[in-house]
Amino acid sequence: MATREDFSRAAESGKVLAARCPKCSALHLAMTRFCPACGSRGLVAEEVEGRGTVATYTIITVAPEGFEGHTPYAWVVMAIDGTPLRVSGFMAGVASPADLPVGTRVRVAGHDERGVLIERS
């Protein structure tokens, strides 16, 4: 089964590491051990292009530890093109909701100490 490190490495190259159910073909994020749709085991790793749209987000002004120097920044949930998957991550340089309407095109642009990095595409 994929580890957090595998997921992070895929994000570094702009991909989302997913897992496909061998029985019902449902697609989930990588670290899922049993298929939530049908309960099967043996999910198979599958990389998906990290491209999609903003599903929702927030702009953080009161930050948790480690993020104080980055405010304001956005924490974004993006919907991945052509899949039922969503992935969340950090987006720098967003100060106002006018900067990032829901539906904006975005991509996975890396992974570092701020988690999955998301940028406008």
Binding site: L29, M31, T58, I59, V62, A63, P64, W75, F90, P97
Partner: protein
Amino acid sequence: MEKVCVLGAGSTPYGKLGESLVEMIVGASAGAIEDAGIEPREIGAAYISNVFGIADKQVHLGPVIMSRLGIPERPSLSIESACGSGSVSFREAYANVAAGFYDAVLVTGAEKVTHTGTAWTTTYFAYCSDFFYEGSAGASFPGLFASMARAYMSEYGATEEDFARVAVKNHDNGMLNPKAHLRKKITVDDVLSSAVVASPLKLYDCCPFSDGASSAIVCSERFAKEHGGKYVEVIGSGRGGSPAALQDRKHMTTIDSTRIASEAAYRMAGISPSDVDFAEVHDCFTIAEVVNGEDLGFFEKGKGVEAAREGKTARGGEIPLNPSGGLKSKGHPIGATGVGQVAEAYEQLTGAAGERAVKGAEVGLTHNFGATGASCAVHIFRGA
């Protein structure tokens, strides 16, 4: 199964308190024991909910509390389920009495965090999220609920002013609660002009970090009748779960755990949402109360803000939500909150709620969840 009742309740005030975590728990527990009119040795076991005992240098709370109560030989269980710890603890108390393991048990919850400051609490509370995906990418708890709020606005055309009305209503209720943390009347403009914490949520959309403890005595109906004090019957109990991370939810403005838990509780009680006279719901943020009203079946999806606008959720409305002031005004000591809701239901249904009483109430519901609703428990009570 035994019929299960609540025979007494006690709470500290909620707010910034000087007592230690242990002192608060002992105080609230002694209050519940007095209120129930029982002796400590009649307590068969205790269920103790707390999340950040480490902040006050005490974990393994059970034996410490039982020793202070003079019953060190009685078993205890510490329970952590983030902000939903209190209701989960109550459920364990309920289940053990229903199963006949004990005639009477103590359920008590507490939190002590205000001395640590906003940076510590913001960081540690984020550990309750699915941390790899959420907290470690900079999401705070206000940020997670803010993301739900933006999704709700985008889907249903709700406005920040709609959310603000929830805060104003809960502060109005809290004004009548002598134990509330924030007893301050506020206006929609106060909410809209307060500092942004995580857009679109502002300071007054958020509940405070509070200290406090709440306790209740849970017992069999036979035990309650023998003791002769006022009691309420637990007629429904349900639990449910949701994907831990927001990204994995089918619908980001529906909390499945609430639907699952409440459907189970309604089924057990043999009632429908329209039979409920008031509800204490988990309004950690204004958006949460809106979503909860829908997921509990009081309003259709997308109609929660309209209900708040029309006063349906006010005291005296169609279905009063949070007559205590809720987490927003009464306060949110996270391990205590779910037990505090039970204490409020007990007071409302035994004629002890004073000025904030919901007139003629016979059936009350409590709803409390952990994190963004990843875990949830719902209970339904009827006055005896």
